[in-house]
């Protein structure tokens, strides 16, 4: 045996078995840590935080003008739930698996003795970890700064958490499935939710925004168009959509070609 072969020999206790498999929880932690590190970019975080702060500044101005609860709810809905949370979720959710696939590092997680779903769920949790503080703190602070009370703060917290989970899951799925996820995601946010889904109650059922608006309306009693679900429905349906999106993403990741 050559010297090099001797060097290759590891201690007996380190020798692997032929039936190794990564437990799901360990795989999930691994995926979470790797994706979180990949997603964490100072420039990206600063830019998205500034975007989120727009809602805070607008709410502060509204609060200074002694606006009523309805104006405050409209502002939170239009800025926080229609722009800030979906866009930030798109950036992080779409990149969670999408960046790994695009930069071809996905192979380091895919070609391993582990299930696929922990990769997708770990990536989703990493996206939520970054999206939640960047969006929820400024948007909830905006709700506080309107100074209107009347359930707007708890409504914003509940609807915000639901929105972050649902959008991150849907955009994680898009990142698994599609290239140019930002383009598709913006098309969903701007064209589907921002235009087509406003056309009627039937179409609006297929927009996450309808459910988050419903929670806000249900908690404040303010009357907004296309927001007529109860709080339980507004919570359960988006969360169910999130579960389905992650399941679909896991299935897709198992069956797609990897570069």
């Amino acid at each position: 045996m050559t010297d090099k072969t001797q060097a290759l020999r590891r201690p007996a206790s380190d020798q692997p078995t032929t039936e190794r498999s990564v437990p799901a929880l360990a795989a999930l932690q691994l995926s979470y840590r790797v994706v979180l590190g990949q997603l964490t970019s100072i420039a990206r975080i600063i830019a998205l935080t500034l975007l989120a702060l727009v809602s805070t500044v607008a709410a502060f101005a509204l609060g200074r003008s002694n606006a009523d609860l309805e104006a405050a709810v409209r502002l939170i809905s239009a800025l926080g739930f229609a722009v800030v949370i979906p866009v930030v979720s798109l950036v992080f959710g779409g990149a969670a698996v999408g960046d790994l696939r695009d930069d071809k590092t996905l192979v380091y997680l895919w070609l391993r003795p582990m299930d696929r779903w922990p990769i997708v769920v770990g990536a989703f949790l990493a996206a939520v970890t970054l999206t939640a503080p960047i969006t929820l703190i400024p948007v909830v602070l905006a709700a506080v700064l309107t100074g209107t009370g009347g359930g707007i703060v708890p409504g914003t917290i509940i609807a915000g958490v639901v929105a972050v989970i649902a959008y991150c899951a849907v955009f994680t799925l898009l990142g698994v499935w599609l290239r140019k996820v930002i383009v598709w995601g913006l098309a969903y946010i701007l064209i589907w939710e921002g235009f087509i889904a406003l056309g009627g109650a039937g179409v609006a059922r297929f927009a996450i925004r309808k459910y988050t608006r419903s929670i806000l309306v249900d908690r404040t009693g303010v009357d907004l168009d296309l927001a007529d679900f109860s709080t339980p429905v507004g919570i359960i349906v988006p969360l169910a959509v999130a579960v389905v999106a992650l399941a679909l993403g896991s299935w897709r990741l198992s069956n797609q070609d990897i570069d």
Binding site: M1, T2, K4, T5, A7, L8, R10, S13, D14, Q15, P16, T18, E19, R20, S21, V22, P23, A26, A27, L30, R33, V34, G37, Q38, T40, D103, K104, T105, V107, Y108, L109, W110, L111, R112, P113, M114, D115, D257, I258, D259
Partner: protein, 329 residues
């Protein structure tokens, strides 16, 4: 394994009936289509422990074949078995194989030791940190393990990828152009490492499009061109086949017709033509004795009072070798 056939006729692929069913890697009648593009066509081979080189020009289908062997993409036709299992569907076999991908992709935010540790953890290895350190030692990167891989040169990144592939002590190691970007010292070191793994009974399959690399990688070669396996066998047979083939050379001279006539009369060339593309002062010759032509060309030119302006081989590239292997010309 089918030995290299004679060069005069197009080479037949290996006989699928002869494939060893218990080999570590068995590729049986495998084709891969991307729409109307045939990336890999009816490839058959079976290989066992030791180092095997997969030789082919860029775009020949090497990476696609490797991706199928690793289960990253399914064959459109045929079947692949790695250690007796389908790598696309069998989760456990993925713990027994490793791939060094061609693309320069790493988790750039991680240090080298963290990157290799992630690889060890993703194989459920105990003492991932210890194994990561050991793997970095194997590729001479232990002393820079704390630096982030994003700061590394291409050669260092290449070695990190190899370290990542070593952590699970793989029975099958697939390396897609692993020597790209390495300096000569590191190339020698890596080749020695691959041979050590092969000597230890691992199945090491290495791709390259550089002929000289293959000479050092191993005696067994698979030659792939245009998606087809055109030859397989011992490298020395391939080398002698190449040495025997005619070499095409362009010669620039002040009197090309007179020089060409003299070369034919003295039996140094087997064919010649005037090279109209490069102006009137050039001719193209085919020779079976490149060394002899090289030695005698200048004295002949001096004797005839002809000034030589250029002597350059035209087909000393790998594509010409494949053309010769596939088409016999």
């Amino acid at each position: 394994m089918t030995t290299l056939p004679p060069p005069a006729a197009p080479l037949a692929p290996p006989n699928p009936d002869a494939l060893a069913t218990n080999a570590m890697i068995t590729v049986n009648e495998v084709s891969k289509f991307f729409g109307s593009i045939v990336a890999v066509s009816d490839v058959n081979f079976a290989i066992d422990g030791g180092v095997t080189a997969l030789l082919g020009p860029n775009g020949a289908g090497k990476s696609t074949l490797f991706r199928m062997i690793c289960g990253l993409t399914a064959p459109s036709k045929g079947s692949i078995r790695v250690l007796g299992s389908d790598p696309r569907t069998d989760r456990t076999v993925r713990g027994r194989i490793s791939l060094v991908p061609q693309q320069d992709a790493l988790f750039d935010h991680l240090s080298a030791i963290e990157m290799v540790q992630v690889s060890a953890n993703s194989h459920a290895m105990p003492d991932a940190k210890g194994i990561a350190h050991w793997a970095l030692e194997q590729v001479d990167l232990a002393d820079v393990g704390a630096k982030t891989v994003g700061q590394f040169s291409k050669g260092m990144r290449q070695r990190v990828k190899v370290a990542c592939a070593l952590v699970n002590d793989p029975e099958v190691l697939i390396l897609d152009e692993p020597l790209t970007g390495l300096d000569p010292v590191q190339r020698r070191h890596m080749i020695a490492l691959f041979h050590a793994l092969g000597d230890a009974g691992r199945c090491v399959l290495v791709s390259s499009h550089v002929l000289d690399e293959v000479a050092r990688l191993g005696s067994r070669v698979l030659v792939i061109a245009q998606g087809r396996l055109v030859a397989s066998g011992d490298y020395r047979d391939l080398r002698s086949l190449m040495d025997d083939r005619p070499l095409r050379i362009r010669i620039g001279a002040s009197a090309p017709r007179r020089l060409g006539t003299a070369l034919v009369e003295r039996g140094l060339v087997t064919a010649l033509s005037l090279d109209a593309h490069n102006g009137p002062g050039h001719l193209i010759v085919d020779t079976l004795d490149a060394d002899g032509l090289g030695r005698k060309l200048a004295p002949i030119a001096t004797e005839l009072n002809i000034r030589l302006t250029e002597v350059s081989p035209l087909d000393d590239d790998l594509e010409s070798v494949f053309r010769y292997l596939v088409e016999g010309r």
